[in-house]
Symmetry: C2
Subunit: 346 residues, 2 copies
Amino acid sequence: MQATRFVETNDGRVGLDQFASRPHDALAAALQQELDAVNTLINEKMSSRHAPRIPEVTAHLVGAGGKRLRPMLTLAAAKLCGYAGGYHIHLAATVEFIHTATLLHDDVVDESKQRRGRPTANLLWDNQSSVLVGDYLFARAFQLMVEPGNLRVLDILAGASSTIAEGEVLQLTVAQDIKTSEETYLQVIRGKTAALFSAATQSGAVLAEAPEEHVEALFTYGDALGVAFQMADDLLDYGGDSAQTGKNVGDDFRERKLTLPVIRAIAAADDTERAFWERTIGRGKQAEGDLEQALALMDKHGTLESTRKTAHDWSQKARDALTVLPESDLRTILSDLAAYVVSRLT
Amino acid sequence: MQATRFVETNDGRVGLDQFASRPHDALAAALQQELDAVNTLINEKMSSRHAPRIPEVTAHLVGAGGKRLRPMLTLAAAKLCGYAGGYHIHLAATVEFIHTATLLHDDVVDESKQRRGRPTANLLWDNQSSVLVGDYLFARAFQLMVEPGNLRVLDILAGASSTIAEGEVLQLTVAQDIKTSEETYLQVIRGKTAALFSAATQSGAVLAEAPEEHVEALFTYGDALGVAFQMADDLLDYGGDSAQTGKNVGDDFRERKLTLPVIRAIAAADDTERAFWERTIGRGKQAEGDLEQALALMDKHGTLESTRKTAHDWSQKARDALTVLPESDLRTILSDLAAYVVSRLT
């Protein structure tokens, strides 16, 4: 029997891990030694001489169920580009620290109560600790990334951090606004998911001093993987098997989130339908049967199907990007990973 | 008639500016041109292509009443060390962004309602915006500091950022604990105030490629200035003229803060006095007349006087540190500034 694994997105939802099967495990196996070194470094750097609350809160999040997908992307990118030094470990730990810091802050922003199947830090301690420990981890991430001494890597990761924060602010300000465009949606999910994926892969390639063509390919791979991943996640909210996804169908609808299938259904809506979306999402006046009606409208306009197609296109884009890199087992695993992300969207 | 000016410490209190008179104004006059360039850069970098909420929140805080003390310290340090390039502007803006980010987060953590005499961002918008815009500014700070391409500068500022967060977490966890030691108090105020002061001055010197002796001197100056500044602030809470300080005597006592005069009074307490502190600070059971009793105990053990003496010692330490640097008007102003910080503690 396979152990249950959890993955989280930045909006605090917990689901059965999309990556629990082969590609993610294959990646972990291929990078086992480096991954051990990353975990050791994380444990070392999350300590604090003066404030024991910091490692307590961090360990709660970092120790539990984190699958290290982002650091693995950094390690894989560096290795794919033939990196022979030791600083990809620092970079991978940096990426995980940035990720952990954003999770801590997101749980405060969203007032989340659960993450990775456990109570959130803001619930177990308080919002103050989550905000400040997040700040600490963010600062530690920057300290760590200074060590390799590569200014372009610093620029990439600092840029990603600002894109992440910008995406979160954008999500906050467009929440429940039924005029949200596809472009805005893409900007939000880039901030929420894809920016750190692409920074993880691109910075690994830059560290390895790969040719510009390979750096660009790995950026594109990370970006497209992140977009496909988040789109699939948003789509499964309306169609996934809750036993498999660990989520309830319609959570996003109840939380009035403007995800792609809804944005497209609103774009295609007639006046009556528009009034429905304005009432349920815009004003949050939801009644029995509204979720079924929302699903029927998405079905009528084919937006679940078209979103599935778009997610597959992004997955394909990620796989295509890899083809400029030399063939290797690692490249195959990364390609499989991109395929796997959308494989449940039948 | 002189305009009223405000200054804030990281714990969100607003008072009449200790620096409103000569040394701060002299510094601003000596650095006018650079300061204008810093303000222009700040306005440019706080913009966001996608999320207008970001410049709105930032402008509310950065635009209003900020006296740019920290960026001025960076500019002054670089100039004192003969820096002839243009990157001290970036560094100064970086320091102000880090400061602004910590203010936004501190106001969330402390649930503050006022800063610089105006409603806080968390009150005008919400906690979410303050957390996320703070994150954005922090990331922008790192992007900005990558530009000069000086890895040691990056290391100093990343290190200061982690000390700031660590100090804040420490303050949170020792709050209302009457066993708090002087050492812990020093650690807390280093995080809260002195770490960014010393990083501001030290990084300016490093950017200028000053000899190590000068770098160290400017670090010590910033550190000691910050410690003296915060100690004076904590002391004035128990003895300042509220018409002059804009604060009410005893705010820290009512908020059960372990500042130096209290820590020393507790260290000297007999059993009865200890029970008093345990009740009023430890358990927060305060009644009419308790503030007067606290003041009487601090007076009995001479802790207001000894704290005043310690603050003066730190101020002197700051001034002494400067003596290794070549004499100049700027050096004199910095020395005056250190003297001014404690000049109200008669």
